[in-house]
Amino acid sequence: MLEQHLAALPILLPLIAAPIALILGRSSFSWAFATLISACACLFAWQLLDLALANGVISYEVGGWPPPWGIELRVDAANAFVLLAVSALSTLVLLYSKDSIEKEIEASKHTLYYTAHLLCFAGLSGILLTGDAFNLFVFLEISSLATYTMVSLASDRRSLIAAFRYLVMGTIGATFILIGVGLLYMSTGTLNMLDLANRIDIAESGRTINTGLAFIMVGVSIKLALFPLHMWLPSAYTYAPSAVTAFLASTATKVAVYVMIRFIFTVFGVDHVFGSMGMDLILMALAIVAIFKCSYKATVQSDVKTVLAYSSVAQIGYMILGISLVSATGLMAGLIHIFNHALMKGALFMAVGAVFYRVGSVDITAFRGLGKQMPLTMAAFTIAGLSIIGVPLTVGFVSKWYLVTAALEQNQWIVAALVLGGSLLAVIYIGRILEAAYFQERPDSQNTTEIKEVPWLMLAPMWALVLANIYFGVDTSLTTEAASSAAEWLFQNNEMPLGNQAEAK
């Protein structure tokens, strides 16, 4: 029974649990409940990945209606891999949020937070698992609406403006996706992704299809905050409660990247999008600009959350760059970076949240002298920061390694050099914060005795992520296996001969 419906469980479980969490009423009850549900979903995701790696694709017919008429859930290595990352992060963030939101969200709204979190998680799982283009839009809206709520929950009133901006931009993005899906439906008469893929081949390069492609790409780009459509992200991340930022930064945009991969590789096909439409060049150019412009922006911000937000936009650039290299290795680099970046950004935002918990501010001046007062938090920040830079034995190095390898395979020497150049900017923006923490004295005006280490319930998930940063940086077998089989699987149905492409250029 359980095995049979395994594919649907990561969506259904949090979706059903969300209203229950609201009914539970007491903050601590709904916290325990939400965490438990999320942990269960994480276990299911693990099993799904196992199954997907062993058997290939798992197809699940929702309500017993066979595709292409009914909604189909399709689990393969690619989405099971991302789902595992999302559900693990969700669980850790929930553990972390019990103490963290006390300082940042009014007590009366705590249950609301857990409900919104579960809804958002259900939406993200849905986006990942569904094999239906319209259903994807529905889940995208579920997760986005929950996200707007979560951002606006912060007691800092600026979060309302940030949430509103996010709402406007996010809705435009979602509408674009809807229009795109509508156009596809218009010319093919189907919504199932695989069916779409088959029929698009027949209706080769019609104008309607291409317009649909354009709408979807722009819409998804807004959702994943691809430069220059990233403007909503820094303010939303800065003013949202820390736990929310940690969750969004490590999951929401990643899922949007996955959506882009899915549309490019499964629905439209690589040779169409990259071959005849030449989108690889556009994506590559935007990705590189994102890496440099936003990394640079990160070096001049004074609010540490904003620094990390801009860094996120830059890191998304790395993922898109991997995709735009049009090779199995490049796609694999992108997928690995989705997973790895979730680990590093999650840890970083948790550390920043811990600082806010004690100091009440996340300005860079608030970090002064914290190396002595909050040694564990700052050590976590340091290791995760080194990971962002891409120091060996951390996951950041693994991502960078595959990305540069992919670029070199395609003889894109300049791109490879630029990727490494981008990490130099990361040295600067992480270095600034570390220098403040370890080498600057705390100003006397602030009471230094009150600042001590945060509760262990905040430290534990943070350090779990930090240790994961190191573990997956040394033992890469799980990530590599999952990502490479996912990348191969995505490429499998496409005719573009990958091995020969390098020589052709």
Binding site: I389, L393, V404, A416, L424, E435, F439, D475
Partner: protein
């Protein structure tokens, strides 16, 4: 060494890397009691040296040791393999760690430094990564531990925690990290994508099938990527790092860190490019002359420095380029000279740094102009300084003679007279900036007349420091008269020989 006979040879490698690491943990554990902590450091250092000796024993009998640790990427793993050049470097580093530990105890206590536990802990970590660099079996491993070394020495450089230390630390980390990420990592990955392997192989992994222009670019990337070799214009970190306590400057910036840099360069030249391939590359000569320029320019800069440690730092920059030049001459005898110079320069320069630290602790003098007549108060220190200086200059009967000898012959053999001339001029410059210090200390008096002297006048540094600097200065002498073990070791490196081409 009989001590480690029962142990599987491949475990000796992991032992040599783990020992200092465990030592570091023990240092933290025993941080409350300074005597115990220092005992831990010393014992670890001594045990480590015996392990390296055991490896040396095994290798000199023709044995081979290898160890594969973890597969980091498919087909690419963190692996270790012992080869003679690495053993040479490991011997030097582990032996001098013992001496430096003795010295550091005297220095840190005499100077009342804070955070001594952190100091000894990071020190041990740095040695651990140096051992890993010595025995690394492929470029990836080398790169990884090269970075670990940079990061673990950063707290040592910024030990004082004041503004100068912060500034120095920023330059140190900035240059070393950015060159290694931007150039070295790029070069490593390009090598991998060209050849499909990163293993160190006798004769190199590049062959004629690879594009010469690409290889030329790679050579430049490697030379500058290994920022620890301090080739101009990326040498600024070395003088900046001199804000560190003197034992750090001594071991790390005369031996471990900088030698890890030139060691990596030698390894890349010998085992990645291969000396034969190196000869045909267009940029070899360009880099060679940049190395020559570094030798001469930094010697000139050294002369202008009044701060003793700054002068020694620039002297180190210049001496490191000897090794780079020796590697880039691409002749077997010059490479032998370069490899030998790792050892001989180490003992010479560490002596000089020890003396600088001893002077600082005993008389609180940092500037050379204040050291006139200091020989009266610190005769042993200044005598050791003279010995170290002569060794650096390369005059008999000191160890530095041998490496300069082979380097010069190598340059002659390669028909690069400019290099020969540069080596000679540099020796003269060395005389000009090093010898006046002991000479003035001994022969100039404040009154200008001969004054009677007795032992009671002396105010030497604490005993551990004196022991340390006497040992290293003795080493300079011993290695002149008994260099054979080192030369044998160098001759075991494939393609490298002190006998020349014929």
């Amino acid at each position: 060494m009989n001590l480690w006979q029962g142990i599987e040879p491949s475990q000796l490698i992991s032992l040599s890397i783990l020992l200092p690491f465990v030592g570091a943990l023990l240092v933290i554990a025993t941080g409350k009691s300074p005597n115990l902590r220092e005992a831990v450091t010393l014992i670890t250092a001594i045990v480590l040296f015996t392990v390296v000796l055991a490896i040396y024993d095994y290798i000199s009998q023709g044995g081979e040791i290898g160890l594969e640790l973890i597969e980091l990427f498919p087909g690419l793993s963190i692996s270790f393999e012992v080869e003679p050049l690495g053993v040479l470097f490991a011997l030097v580093a582990s032996f001098l760690w013992i001496v430096t530990s003795v010295y550091a105890i005297g220095y840190m206590r005499g100077h009342n430094e804070l955070n001594q536990t952190r100091f000894f802990c990071c020190f041990a970590l740095a040695i651990s990564s140096v051992m890993a660099i010595c025995f690394s079996g492929n470029l990836l491993t080398l790169f990884i531990f090269y970075e670990v070394l940079t990061l673990s020495t950063y707290p040592l450089v910024t030990h004082a925690g004041n503004d100068a230390a912060k500034k120095g630390g920023r330059i140190y980390l900035g240059i070393l990290l950015s060159t290694s990420i931007a150039f070295l990592l790029f070069a490593v990955m390009a090598t991998y994508s060209l050849t499909g392997t990163l293993d160190f192989r006798a004769g190199g992994i590049f062959d004629d099938s690879h594009n010469k222009i690409v290889l030329s670019v790679l050579l430049v990337l490697f030379c500058y990527g290994i920022g620890k070799a301090a080739i101009m214009p990326f040498h600024r970190w070395l003088p900046a790092a001199m804000v560190a306590p003197t034992p750090v400057s001594a071991l790390l910036h005369a031996v471990a860190v900088v030698k890890a840099g030139v060691f990596s360069i030698l390894k890349v030249m010998i085992y990645i490019f291969g000396l034969d391939e190196l000869k045909d590359l267009a940029t070899t000569d360009i880099m060679l002359y940049i190395g020559v320029a570094t030798i001469l320019l930094s010697s000139c800069i050294a002369m202008t420095k009044d701060n003793l440690k700054a002068r020694l730092a620039y002297s180190t920059v210049s001496q490191l380029s000897y090794i780079v030049v020796g590697a880039l001459l691409a002749s077997s005898i010059a490479s032998a000279g370069a490899a030998l110079h790792i050892a001989t320069h180490a003992v010479g320069k560490i002596t000089l740094f020890f003396c600088a630290g001893a002077i600082m602790v005993a008389s609180h003098k940092k500037n050379i102009s204040e050291m006139v007549g200091l020989g009266r108060q610190m005769p042993i220190t200044m005598a050791a300084f003279a010995i170290g200086a002569i060794s650096i200059i390369g005059l008999p009967p000191m160890a530095g003679t041998w490496s300069k000898w082979y380097l010069t012959i190598g340059a002659l053999e390669a028909d690069k007279l400019i290099v020969v001339a540069a080596l000679m001029i540099s020796s003269l410059l060395n005389i000009a900036y090093l010898l006046p210090i002991p000479v003035k200390a001994f022969f100039n008096t404040t009154t200008g007349e001969a004054e009677p002297w007795s032992w009671s006048e002396t105010r030497e540094a604490p005993l551990p420091m004196l022991i340390a600097l006497s040992v290293t200065s003795l080493c300079c002498l011993v290695l002149f008269f008994y260099p054979q073990p080192l030369i044998d070791l160098v001759n075991m490196i494939p393609g490298v020989s002190t006998q020349g081409e014929g």
